[in-house]
């Protein structure tokens, strides 16, 4: 599994390299934001992959509580770690983009805020896992946190939205899709595809590592 995952990841990263080429050379530059807008092609797909990863942790956690199959826990562990990795990309590209566009490094924009909170939660999730020695306890407790995290997401989104309607924030990071010209949309979708593939590759590899660790522990 690990090797297969690494192959897929390699393929995906080649795809992302292609996206870089496409973004810089094959896509028109946005009028208002200039060159810095091109971070979008990394930032938005990374955000998508991170939220996908964390969402699947929640789903796998719920499934574990019903089915008690330890492999679901191994998957959740893998997806959580990959989610943290993609979040790191998203949270670093965000300020890099935000600074020239907003004039500030950070804003409490719904997607950034949600990702930041999920990162903090899943860092805690990992700490909890590390503090538990028995695999069944670890799987059960992680699953409980995973399910609660999933249920929390809409509340975070709603509360930040309410916060924002009171305090108008700079324009959303992503130019609205309908008015995006075809060339930009194409690059964006390609990147989303490449990042999704990268997610699959990373999780598969990490899952393989997790299974191997389990088997070695006996």
């Amino acid at each position: 599994m690990t090797r297969g995952g690494l192959w897929i990841s390699g393929l995906a990263m080649a795809g992302i390299a292609g996206v870089y080429w496409l973004a810089l050379l094959g896509t028109p530059t946005e009028r208002w934001q200039g060159l810095s807008q091109k971070i979008l092609y990394i930032h938005a797909p990374a955000a998508w992959a991170a939220l996908l990863a964390f969402g699947l942790v929640g789903v796998a956690s719920a499934a574990y509580l019903f089915l008690r199959d330890i492999r679901l826990d191994t998957f959740a562990e893998a997806s959580a770690e990959v989610g943290l990795a993609f979040s790191a990309i998203m949270l670093t590209t965000g300020p890099l983009w935000g600074r020239p566009v907003w004039g500030s490094w950070w804003e409490w924009e719904p997607r950034l805020t949600l990702t930041l909170l999920l990162v903090l939660l899943f860092v805690g999730y990992r700490a909890l896992r590390n503090a538990l020695d028995f695999p069944e306890d670890r799987a059960r407790y992680s699953a409980v946190v995973g399910v609660m995290a999933l249920v929390l997401v809409p509340f975070v989104h709603l509360s930040v939205y309410l916060f924002r309607t009171i305090h108008p924030q700079p324009v959303l990071l992503k130019p609205s899709a309908p008015s995006m010209p075809w060339e930009m949309l194409r690059t964006l979708l390609t990147s989303i595809g490449a990042f999704t593939l990268l997610y699959i590759g990373f999780v598969t590899a990490r899952y393989g590592i997790g299974r191997r660790r389990q088997q070695e522990a006996g």
Partner: protein
């Protein structure tokens, strides 16, 4: 149904009796709350930042931290001499144990809030208007939500190595939505806005409470069954 409620009440009453006998949680949490208010009062340049500006945030941060201190002891008392075993052996469902623990924890947090609020009024020069009743209501509703989450988390973190640190790390993220809403509503109330304007925020808190109490009831058995 009645045995469920009476068992839950039995657990809650026991928690309250233990707290009255030892008096550790509430005094510690209240002292911590008052100290936090003191620190926040001084953590500004008074010529630049007015009390009114930081008051709502100060109140809610204090309530959150004091609430965590109160929650921490909820399951440590059970771990001491196998109290949790006794509860699990009792002929009552896990849900009754959760409800009992939840009610006792909520009572403690509300008592701490009741101590913190007047001190807040004192330190931050808040006018004693009926708005304070609304603010207390917000504090209680928010507590009803995050205590539901905290009870589940405390049952788990008490068995880990760094229990006192693990609980806040996990719980604070769950506290963000109610706190965010609570601070916004408090700002309005302190600014003299009518209650009608913040009805929406109340409904948000109630929704949060209902969802997480239900979720807590469903997830709690997984945290105690070995």
């Amino acid at each position: 149904m009645t045995s469920f409620l009476s068992a839950a009440w039995g657990v809650a009453a026991k928690d309250i009796r233990v707290e009255l006998a030892s008096r550790t949680a509430i005094t510690t949490a209240a002292a911590f709350g008052v100290l936090t208010l003191v620190v926040l009062n001084f953590a500004r340049d008074p010529t630049v930042v007015s009390l009114a500006t930081i008051a709502p945030g100060a109140l809610w941060v204090t309530a959150a931290f004091a609430g965590i201190v109160a929650l921490n002891r909820s399951f440590s008392m059970e771990l001491e001499q196998g109290g949790l075993d006794a509860l699990l052996l009792a002929p009552v469902g896990r849900g009754a144990i959760y409800l009992g623990k939840y009610l006792a924890n909520l009572a403690f947090v509300v008592v701490v809030d009741l101590i913190v609020l007047p001190v807040f009024v004192l330190f931050f020069n808040v006018a004693p208007t009926p708005a304070l009743v609304g603010i207390l209501g917000l504090l209680v509703l928010a507590a009803a939500g995050y205590v539901a989450v905290g009870t589940v988390l405390a049952a788990m973190t008490v068995r880990t190595r760094f229990a006192e640190l693990m609980l806040p790390v996990l719980l604070l993220v769950f506290m963000v939505p109610p706190m965010l809403v609570g601070v916004q509503a408090t700002t309005r109330l302190l600014g003299g806005r009518p209650m009608g304007e913040i009805v929406g925020w109340f409904w948000f808190l109630i929704l949060y409470d209902v969802v997480f109490i239900t979720l807590g009831l469903m997830l709690f058995p997984a945290t105690v069954d070995e």
